[in-house]
């Protein structure tokens, strides 16, 4: 819950708004968003359904151009997708005509890295997501959790400066989900990655993030940002149950109240 | 005729009544300037059939092959076709008989070669492509032309309809074709003939457009068949007496110029009933005329070509080429 000042700024969103469609049929999805993402942060975004979480991510990824305001990365305006900003989608977009290996190698290959390096990277990250050994399989042979792990490995293989994740575990069942949370927490810690993570599960956000951004319902605005460190506590204490304490429920209830007020 | 006695069976009665005359007659016709076209144009069908309360339907076929299909399905009672198609009809056991020869084909069907093609004799066609509508009289004659020249193995025949022959000719895809009028005239604008059906007829390869009728129909209504022949004969008389007038009638019916029609008609020979009853054509029942032999020869040739499975016997052709209705028609006129 501290020491944010030292951190190096990576992405800066300045007074950004996003409107879909034109004139009568237009939807104001995002309004006056100001947000700074620092290097090494794990930011979770929470908000009611349809509030514009995905839209925010798309703006950062460069998939959508903001209607006003700008998204800066290292001070330069984001202009289209880029391998420095990796994206993990809710349903994994693995390419079924490629093997797991080929999927993970896709990014490095696109960047024309030397073959040997590509192989090393692939092996390292498949290992990182505990999937070494299934590289020859096709992706449709994998379970949902395994698919999402391959998708994460594929994104990490590019050593992106930030990983954007849009409800990556939303489609997984509760148990697999827990495993995946642990996995991503470990990866974040080990590789010192910067992660921007969308979820609609308050617990997930609190157990992963060191900053939780809560958004209002449409048009999406940032209502409040919470600095939390339960994820560090879990690291330190090695277990999850210990953090279900007063502190935790206090923050959780506050967030829940905010969101409920949004819906009412 | 026992009307009262048969009171209870009134349906049977009415059908017998109807049987004395059919409700309608279906004629399969070709779009050529022949006696039938003139007869229709002059209203002879109305005179001989319509006035008796019979509905007359004329159905145009593009070829005798189509007419045969219609005959086989029982859709039509009379059909005009080339004699080769009439042979197919007999060979395929369609229950029909041949009752009339509309015209003996002559210069109106010919082997045309394109100017500048360098084809001077038939033998020059060796190794070339010649277009002809398959299963037609022209097909039969062309095969014989090539056979006579001894090059039947060396010429590639193309199966094309007349319109396609013109198109291919103009495009230069083909330089020789055996076809009939009015297509022939279009080809001859930039070509000449090497031989025609008249020359071949002189050599014994006679072809003709003939009329066949369903036997069931003819046996039930022989008088109507005779009436048909009378209509043809009357129409033929117009041509014989005044060809220009006949061409005008036929031309306007077909939507072509009288001159074109006349040219086409002149390429053929129209025979009177008496001529047809001579030994050259129908002959008599006891002494069949020569046309049955022509048909038999043609049939044998078609069998050799595998166009028909089995060539019917001479006896079958004698029976097939039936002079009785022409005789009846003549007798009717004498009675009148």
């Amino acid at each position: 819950m501290s020491a944010q000042e030292k951190k190096e700024s990576l992405i800066k969103i300045e007074n950004m708004s996003l409107e879909y469609g034109e004139s009568i049929n237009s939807t104001l999805a995002l309004k006056n968003i100001d947000l700074e993402i620092n290097k090494g942060e794990f930011i979770c975004v929470l908000g009611p359904s349809g509030c514009g979480k995905s839209s925010l991510l798309k703006c950062i990824a460069g998939y959508v151009k903001p209607t006003s305001g700008r998204v800066l990365m290292h001070g330069e305006e984001v202009d289209g997708p880029d391998w420095h900003r990796g994206v993990v989608f809710q349903s994994p977009t693995l390419y079924p005509w490629m093997t797991v290996n080929e999927n993970v190698e896709f990014g490095p290959k696109m960047r024309n890295l030397p073959k040997a390096e590509i192989k090393d990277i692939r092996e390292y990250f498949l290992d990182e997501v505990n999937l070494s050994g299934i590289g020859g399989n096709y992706t449709f042979e994998l379970s949902g959790g395994m698919k999402q792990r391959v998708a994460i490995a594929r994104v990490l293989a590019n050593y992106p400066q930030v990983v954007l994740m849009d409800e990556p575990f939303g489609a997984l069942d509760a148990l697999t989900r827990e495993n995946m949370q642990n996995l991503i927490r470990n990866i974040w810690e080990e590789n010192n990655t910067t992660i921007f993570f969308i979820t609609h599960d308050v617990d997930e956000a609190l157990l992963l993030a060191n900053r939780v951004v809560v958004m209002s319902s449409q048009p999406g605005e940032i209502i409040k940002i919470f600095n939390v460190d339960f994820t560090n506590q879990i690291f330190e204490k090695g277990s999850k149950e210990v953090i279900y304490n007063e502190d935790y429920f206090e923050v959780k209830n506050e967030i829940m109240d905010i969101i409920h007020n949004q819906i009412d | 005729s026992g009307d009262q006695a048969q009171n209870t069976n009134s349906t049977a009665e009415s059908t017998t009544d109807k049987k004395s005359l059919p409700a309608e007659i279906n004629f399969g016709i070709l779009r050529v300037p022949n006696d039938e076209t003139i007869a229709i144009a002059k209203g002879y069908f109305k005179k001989y059939f319509g006035d008796k309360g019979i509905k007359v339907n004329t159905i145009v076929f593009d070829s005798g092959a189509e007419a045969n299909q219609a005959l086989a399905s029982g859709s039509i009672d009379f059909a005009t076709m080339g004699n080769t198609n009439a042979i197919t009809a007999l060979a395929r056991e369609l229950n029909v008989e041949l009752i009339w020869i509309h015209e003996v084909l002559g210069e109106n069907e010919a082997l045309a070669v394109k100017n500048g093609s360098g084809f001077k004799t038939i033998k020059d066609l060796a190794g070339e492509r010649v277009a002809v509508p398959f299963a037609s009289t022209a097909h039969y004659i062309l095969l014989n032309v090539l056979k006579e020249a001894g090059i039947e193995e060396e010429v590639q025949l193309l199966d094309m309809q007349t319109a396609e022959i013109v198109a291919a000719w103009e495009r230069g895809d083909i330089k020789a074709a055996y076809t009939w009028q009015p297509t022939l005239a279009q080809l001859l604008k930039s070509g000449s003939t090497l031989t025609d059906s008249k020359e071949m007829a002189d050599k014994g390869y006679i072809t003709a457009n003939v009329e066949v009728v369903r036997k069931d129909f003819a046996e039930e209504y022989p008088q109507l068949v005779a009436d048909f022949i009378s209509a043809m004969s009357e129409a033929g008389d117009i041509y014989r007496n005044n060809p220009e007038r006949a061409a005008e009638i036929a031309g306007s019916k077909l939507g072509i110029e009288a001159g074109v029609a006349l040219n086409q008609m002149r390429g053929t020979t129209w025979k009177t009933r008496k001529e047809l009853l001579s030994e050259d054509f129908f002959g008599t029942v006891d002494e069949p005329g020569n046309f049955a032999q022509v048909m038999k020869d043609t049939s044998d040739f078609l069998q050799a070509q595998n166009s028909i499975e089995e060539s019917p016997s001479r006896e079958a052709f004698n029976e097939y080429v039936n002079p009785e209705y022409i005789k009846m028609s003549l007798k009717n006129d004498q009675n009148n």
Binding site: T93, M110, N130, E141, E178 | R92, E164, D173, N306
Partner: protein, 287 residues
């Protein structure tokens, strides 16, 4: 928990696939026909043949209207031995299939790029689509004469006719494939550093392959249906021409032989195409 993944790894291709297939699995038995159904199909054809045999035996119809099985069989053997019109049967089949496959080949190589481009760029579609939509429903025989006028009587016009028949289904399949394309595939590829060209060849093309292949199969079917029309003009070979010529001489048994040959080859070729499809697009249904 992250430790026990190896166990899960061994189950690769197990639970996940099965659970997603649950709804489908109910129907899989229908694909693999069981014995009863095979017997029924067999009986159906047996019954058809029996009926055919009995009807012809009863002499209700003349052999021209309905040739008996024996007659058709003899005609088949005769054509097999002596060919038709002095041309061996395999030459007829060869001529037809050459026309078909040349047409199909050109259709694939023009319709696939044009279709993909149309799906990709609205402007390209605006140019091509309405033209395709206009000619597609036209009966081929309506414009065949024009093709003969323009391309002559040789195989070219026949191939153009078959090409036009085959072009539209492939083109439409390609447009729809790109349209249905999961945009996240494209976006994720871009975020992984793929340029426009790579996106097209590594993502759009393979992702569209299943539908393209379905389009090719449809195209083959449509072209096959057009085969007889194509062989109406100036042909003296081809299985379609054989049937037409037989029609001219009322050789019903040859028509039957032609129909049976065409029916069986049609079924065989579709089976071959489906086999290739399964091999080539193994991931179909997993997209």
């Amino acid at each position: 928990m992250a430790l026990n993944n190896n166990e899960e790894d061994n189950k690769v291709a197990n639970s996940a696939v099965q659970t997603t297939n649950q709804n489908i699995s109910r129907k899989t038995p229908k694909n693999k026909k069981n014995k009863t159904e095979k017997t029924l199909t067999f009986l159906t054809w047996g019954f058809i043949f029996f009926l055919w045999y009995v009807i012809t035996k009863l002499n209700i119809f003349t052999p021209t209207l309905l040739p008996g099985p024996a007659r058709v069989w003899r005609a088949f053997l005769d054509i097999l031995a002596n060919g038709y019109n002095d041309v061996p049967l395999w030459v007829h089949l060869g001529a037809s299939f050459k026309r078909l496959f040349v047409a199909l080949f050109f259709a694939i190589f023009t319709a696939v790029p044009l279709g993909l481009l149309s799906g990709y760029f609205d402007k390209v579609e605006a140019v091509i689509d309405s033209v395709v939509e206009f000619y597609r429903p036209l009966p081929p025989l309506a414009y065949y004469t024009l093709l003969v006028l323009w391309f002559g009587i040789d195989d070219t016009s026949k191939q153009v006719l078959l090409f036009l028949a085959a072009f539209a289904p492939i083109y439409i399949a390609c447009v729809s494939a790109v349209r249905k394309l999961n945009q996240d595939f494209v976006l994720s590829a871009k975020s992984l550093g793929a340029n426009q060209k790579n996106v097209f060849f590594k993502i759009v093309l393979p992702a569209s392959l299943p539908e393209i292949f379905t389009g090719v199969r449809t195209a083959f079917g449509v072209a096959y249906t057009t085969l007889v029309s194509a062989e109406m003009v100036a042909a003296t070979s081809g299985i379609g021409w054989m049937v037409l010529d037989a029609s001219n001489f009322l050789k019903s048994e040859v028509i039957f032989v032609g129909i049976i040959i065409m029916g069986i080859t049609g079924v065989i070729i579709d089976a071959v195409l489906r086999f290739i499809e399964r091999r080539l697009i193994f991931w179909k249904g997993h997209i």
